[in-house]
């Protein structure tokens, strides 16, 4: 029976791993550790990428800004009058945003304040999700919706007010009417969204002034065409289409992924080296074992299959454990190296680490975790198998 033979070899492989438990542990531990780190990093990388790409899907078709000497300048409503009549444009929504500093626990942090037209913009279109309370509605003034993490840091609840210093240094009170779910996206954690009127007051914008304008098109496919038309009307605009922003985000993450991959590669190389050292340090013993097995009637293929099973069992178990530990580590909030994963810990006092296990990443992790071990295990046996049995027996 073919199957019985493979099952027999598998069983023997398993008992061999128990038999050489020291060697098994010496292989398992470093590989498991490397895979834990590699998978934690990969999951975060995937999570960041997914998060960033998700946030770009909520971008308007075109974002219009005014550049002056390379710096962002306020946009005036008058300058948009010609643009708003261009064909293909469905809606043009002014937006006001800026940053405000806040000291939490004695440390300075920077938050983003965004002013919108309630009614014209719903949270969904901005890619935001209100977890508690409500979103802004027409008629609101100094009402605000803030990130849950920010609320937690400040100790405010829905219905309470927060007082911040405005552009002129005067106290300005916002009434918190809702909280964003921060587990969904990182960028919502540091946000305060209020009405455009309140934002203008707070940031010192004049009436009719805005930071940028969000352009929604009748058809997303018109992005490039409309962008060109806008520039021909007024070359002073900076026109950002969603496609270019998405591409830029993708690019930013693939270059970041490059750094991750490098660390990853080093980790796996280390694991492979440890595996190789382990396996060749016992090669004498292994050679003798190969000799004994062949002397009692084993073929070279049988021995290689045995070694394959041995390394597969260790490799798959170590990789799977590493994946679980990596995921668990992230669930615990990635203590110690959270700041290393995202270089913004000084900007955000508290944020959830986005994590996502992309199937292709999991497959890649398995391949890189298992393959070096299989290689390091099978090749020496294969080499030993091509030597005369008598020589193997002598070690």
């Amino acid at each position: 029976m073919r199957l019985a033979k493979h099952a027999g070899l598998f069983g023997l492989a398993a008992s061999n791993l128990v038999r050489y438990s020291h060697k098994t542990i010496a292989l398992f531990l470093p590989l498991c550790l490397a895979m834990t780190l590699a998978s934690a990093m990969t999951f975060v990388k995937d999570g960041l990428k997914k998060d960033a790409l998700l946030s770009t899907t909520n971008l308007p078709d075109i974002t219009l800004q005014r550049l002056l000497g390379g710096r962002l300048e306020r946009l005036k409503e008058e300058s948009l009058s010609k643009v708003s009549t261009l064909p293909g444009i469905a809606r043009l929504i002014p937006r006001v945003w800026g940053y405000f500093p806040l000291e939490i626990g004695g440390k300075p942090f920077v938050y983003t304040l965004v002013g919108i037209h309630p009614g014209l913009q719903d949270p969904k279109i901005m890619g935001l999700c209100v977890a508690y309370g409500r979103f802004l509605k027409p008629g609101d003034g100094n009402e605000a919706v803030i990130g849950s993490a920010l609320a937690r840091s400040l100790g405010v609840h829905v219905g309470e007010s927060i007082v911040l210093k405005d552009a002129l240094g005067n106290a300005y009170a916002f009434r918190v009417v809702g909280l964003f779910a921060t587990s969904v996206q990182i960028y919502a954690t540091d946000m305060l969204v209020t009405t455009i009127g309140a934002a203008r007051d707070f940031l010192g914008y004049g009436n009719g002034e805005m930071s940028d304008a969000l352009v929604y098109l009748e058809e997303a496919g018109l992005q490039d065409l409309v962008a060109k038309a806008i520039l021909s009307v007024d070359p002073g605009f900076r026109v950002l289409t969603r496609d270019t922003l998405t591409d830029a985000t993708k690019q930013a993450y693939s270059s970041r992924a490059g750094v991750f991959s490098l660390v990853w590669l080093v980790l796996l190389l280390t694991a492979a080296l440890v595996a190789w050292a382990q396996l060749s340090s016992i090669s004498l013993e292994q050679r003798k074992e190969v000799g004994i097995l062949r002397s009692v009637g084993w073929g070279i293929g049988d021995i290689i299959e045995l070694k394959l099973f041995e390394s597969l069992i260790v490799g798959v178990m170590a990789t799977a454990s590493g994946l679980f530990l990596g995921a668990g580590y992230l669930l615990l909030g990635a203590p110690l190296i959270k700041g290393y994963f995202i270089g913004w810990s000084s900007v955000f006092p508290e944020f959830p680490l986005p994590a996502y296990a992309a199937p292709e990443s999991v497959a890649l992790l398995f391949f890189t975790g298992v393959f070096p071990l299989v290689f390091a295990s099978v090749v020496p046996s294969w080499v030993a198998s091509s030597v005369e049995v008598d020589q193997c027996l002598r070690g």
Binding site: G8, L9, S295, I300, E388
Partner: protein, 232 residues
């Protein structure tokens, strides 16, 4: 001699080179063993007995001459072919036993059955039957290294026997054993011969020589065949 010989060694030589010095372990030895017969190699230590057994067991290749096993010229075979022939016909008992430490006795004994595709239940049954036969039934679950020399020797014989080989090759199967164990092993070997197995043994134990097991006694000296004595 009507049957085709089980083993033919034809002008076989084996030269080892260690540290650029050549050692002629075996020189131009010619020998035939018919099926069901027992051939005993005798001679002082270093005379080439183990080398000859290793050649017959296909564990090494001759430097010159050829080894023919059950009609197959082994010179034409690669390592795969040798493995296959070994699995088909040969059971080997080493002087050093060569059991796998850490595996229990039953697992050691059933090792040759794994590549034959026998299921675990059949393997266990065959292994236990062989162990019982050699009076080792009670040792099945013990680790090989927990046994005495005589017991390990018998486990090694059990392992060689479990696949029911036509040819049994044993290198000094009674060395380092006490009287009782020597007699037990001679008894086993005699039974195997009765069953029609071909035996190729080496020994420098007078008791083994005198027990009348051997049909032919081949005396080696310094790697050369010195005398050949056939019974009857």
């Amino acid at each position: 001699m009507n049957a085709k010989p089980a083993i033919i060694l034809e002008g076989v030589s084996k030269t080892y080179s260690i540290a650029k010095k050549e050692v002629n372990a075996l020189m131009n030895v010619t020998l035939e063993v018919s099926p069901g017969r027992c051939c005993m190699l005798v001679g002082p230590s270093g005379s080439g007995k183990t080398t000859l057994l290793n050649l017959a067991a296909l564990l090494t290749r001759p430097s010159a001459g050829r080894v023919v096993l059950f009609g197959k010229d082994t010179n034409s075979l690669g390592e795969y072919g040798l493995d296959r022939l070994r699995r088909q016909f040969i059971g080997v008992v080493f002087q050093a036993f060569n059991l796998l430490g850490g595996l229990n006795v039953l697992d050691n004994v059933t090792l040759p059955l794994v590549p034959r595709g026998m299921g675990p239940k059949e393997r266990k049954e065959a292994g236990m039957a062989t162990l019982e036969r050699l009076g080792l039934g009670g040792f099945a679950a013990l680790r090989a290294e927990q046994l005495s020399g005589g017991e390990q020797q018998r486990v090694a014989i059990a392992r060689a026997l479990v696949g029911d080989p036509s040819l049994m090759i044993a290198d000094e199967p009674t060395s380092n054993l006490d009287e009782e164990n020597v007699l037990a092993i001679l008894e086993i070997l005699a039974k195997l011969k009765e069953e029609g197995k071909t035996l190729l043994l080496s020994s420098h134990d007078a008791r083994v020589l005198e027990c009348g097991l051997a049909d032919t006694v081949v005396r080696l000296k310094n790697g050369a065949l010195q005398s050949f004595a056939a019974k009857g």
